[in-house]
């Protein structure tokens, strides 16, 4: 049924329809509304046979989910940013133990400096933890991906993160089609664990593995991820058949007819990019989009197919590897390195810590990539004046102080100068 809902509330409803048996909750902005919503649904009895457990930290949240999953329950939790880092050890354990937990990540920047707003730093920080990572373009997909995530996780016994842009999606209210319980039940059968802690039939999970077998156990983890591509595409196909709309899959292409320039991005920024692409197409520019949904496992072959005819590839990263550049751009470069004709690669770092990614800025950078390419990452809408002033200041004195505070002071001074100038012209 179509409803006008906040993204978090819609996700809570749909996660509820997935019949989770254990929900572990610890609040952190911007994810909190999701577990709050689920708590409400459990309390009112709209979600049955579900244990809602308030825990004392994120580390506990995922640890409890690990225990519940090992005991055969369909387990769910959600977190963001520092919360994900605080549970990092458990994140690796869930994957290494092969426990199909589903976790929503309300994507948010990582400190320091502390920042509660959206970017993909959290998901990128743990991209090598062995989870599947799926990115939602809008709130319909954010809700739908959870149904797919439970099925994907449970079929392969691999935990799955559904990455949803914090605030931009979690706090946005839009039209969302909430499926019927029967539809979800048809698509998502009850959880049938491949390993379970059962007092009637005791086993142990979590053996210590030495040099003689560790490589093999890790290889099997790699193998499972490599064999997931076909299943992920099949689940998207089945989803469309069952629910009548597209969700999930490895990637989605847009406006790719004869596209010479192709943009690659993940998450909600794809919506804004599509609007920009429509406007550029109207100007006769041959530009298209690859919206990457599955980041882990990384769909190398699908990306090669989608990008092999492009002259220029522009990768938008909402995260920064400070010693390297954009992590998605690095991954794409690896995926394309063996193509007969490698496209020109352009890396853009955008939307860090909640900086709005505007249509105007995207128009500029998409045109610039072709006409006036740059080396390394391009930081969208970087305040170069402030950067120059701070670098100059730092060069003058050893004890130059913390960058975050200095930049804030510079911005404050710029604002004051601007107001003074405006008053000057007023007189």
């Amino acid at each position: 049924m179509l409803e006008q809902l906040e993204g978090s509330k819609a996700m809570a409803k749909v996660i509820g329809l997935c019949r989770p048996q254990v929900v572990c909750a610890y609040p952190i902005t911007p994810q909190t509304h999701i577990v709050e919503g689920l708590g409400e649904l459990v309390r009112t009895g709209d979600v049955q046979n579900c244990e809602f457990i308030n825990v004392e930290s994120e580390f506990a949240a995922l640890s409890v989910a690990i225990g519940a999953s090992a005991a055969g329950a369909r387990a769910y939790t959600a977190t963001a940013s520092q919360g994900l880092l605080f549970m990092a050890e458990a994140v690796y354990n869930a994957a290494g133990l092969g426990l199909p937990i589903v976790m929503t990540l309300g994507n948010r920047a990582i400190g320091a400096p502390i920042n509660i707003w959206n970017d993909h730093s959290d998901a990128m920080a743990l991209r090598e933890a062995g989870w599947f990572q799926l990115f939602a373009e809008n709130n319909q997909e954010a809700a739908d991906l959870h149904i797919i995530a439970f099925r994907l996780a449970e079929e392969l016994s691999v935990p799955t993160m559904v990455c949803v842009d914090g605030f931009i999606l979690t706090h946005a209210m839009e039209r969302i089609d909430i499926p019927e319980q029967a539809q979800v039940d048809t698509y998502l059968p009850p959880y049938e664990p491949v390993q379970v802690l059962d007092p009637e039939d005791p086993i142990s999970i979590g053996a210590m593995v030495g040099p003689d077998a560790f490589t093999e156990v890790r290889y099997l983890q790699f193998y499972k991820q490599q064999t997931a591509f076909r299943l992920i595409e099949k689940l998207a196909h089945d989803f469309k058949k069952q629910f009548g709309r597209a969700a999930g899959g490895l990637l989605r292409t847009y406006s790719m007819d004869e596209a010479e320039t192709v943009v690659v991005a993940m998450g909600s920024v794809n919506g804004t990019i599509k609007d920009v692409i429509d406007e550029m197409r109207a100007d006769g520019i041959l530009i298209g989009l690859v919206c990457l949904i599955t980041f882990r496992p990384f769909p190398t072959r699908a990306l090669q197919e989608a990008l092999s005819h492009a002259k220029d590839v522009i990768v938008i990263d909402k995260a920064l590897d400070a010693g390297m550049g954009g992590p998605l751009a690095s991954n794409i470069a690896i995926a394309l390195r063996n193509l007969a004709q490698t496209p020109n690669m352009h890396s853009v770092v955008a939307g860090l810590g909640g900086r709005p990614v505007t249509k105007a800025a995207l128009h500029r950078v998409f045109r610039q990539a072709v006409i006036q390419p740059w080396d390394g990452p391009h930081f969208l809408d970087l305040n170069e004046r402030v950067i120059a002033r701070e670098i100059h200041r730092k060069g003058k004195a050893r004890r130059s102080g913390p960058s975050a505070e200095n930049v804030l002071k510079l911005l404050e001074r710029e604002r004051a100068e601007k107001i003074a100038a405006a008053e000057g012209t007023g007189r």
Binding site: F167, R175, S268, N270, T272, G354, V357, T358
Partner: protein, 200 residues
């Protein structure tokens, strides 16, 4: 696509106002997207919320920089920030105050807009009278339907009822209707002038 930006302070229901406006548009079968400016939420701090309404799917996620309409829930914000930034020259301006634009030193801003597109309404007083709380958001939405015709009063009233079920909702409905009627009565001569101008 029609874009509305709502300015207010934490505790005045700014985000809820944008959400209710989106629900009203949804009731009319349109696409709508409401979202806050994502600041730290504190009582009294400036808050901005946005609402886009369209007949097509809304994909754009940037904050609204060139609104077609501005609703200002707190008149003291004019001194704190550039509330009017980016307002379309053919846009609408609705300000919560019992006074006129001259009294709040916004005469020039109102004069830049087409006749009748700028209105003030004492929404806090209406809310205090009908709801018993100084939450001006529902009255402003009622007034906004009269000012812009973007969505109907009936849809806004239904959105209010869905957001605040029961007695609270009904009290807000009365406040919103009263605000609508006040602005509609003031608009009526304007409408006549515009018609006369069209016929001249």
């Amino acid at each position: 696509m029609f874009q509305v930006r709502i300015h207010g302070r934490g505790g005045q229901g700014v985000v809820t106002a944008a959400e209710m406006l989106s629900v009203a548009a949804f009731i009319e079968g349109r696409h709508a997207q409401a979202f806050p400016s994502f600041g730290s939420e504190r009582m009294g701090a400036p808050v901005v919320a946005f609402c886009r309404i369209s007949d097509r799917e809304i994909r754009l996620r940037e904050p609204i920089q060139t609104p077609d309409a501005l609703i200002v829930q707190d008149v003291t914000l004019f001194r704190a920030m550039d509330v009017l930034e980016g307002l379309s020259p053919s846009g609408y301006l609705l300000v919560n105050t019992g006074k006129g634009f001259a009294d709040i030193h916004q005469e020039a801003a109102a004069a830049r807009l087409p006749p009748g597109h700028a209105q003030t309404i004492g929404a806090t007083e209406l809310a205090l009278a009908h709801v018993g709380r100084p939450a001006p958001n529902t009255s402003l939405l009622g007034a906004f339907t009269a000012l812009s015709g973007l969505v109907s009063l009936e849809s806004v009233l239904e959105a209010i009822r869905r957001t605040f079920p029961g007695k609270v909702g009904e009290a807000n409905v009365i406040a919103a209707r009263a605000a609508h009627d006040l602005v509609a009565a003031r608009m009526a001569p304007d409408m006549q002038t515009r018609k006369d101008a069209a016929h001249a």
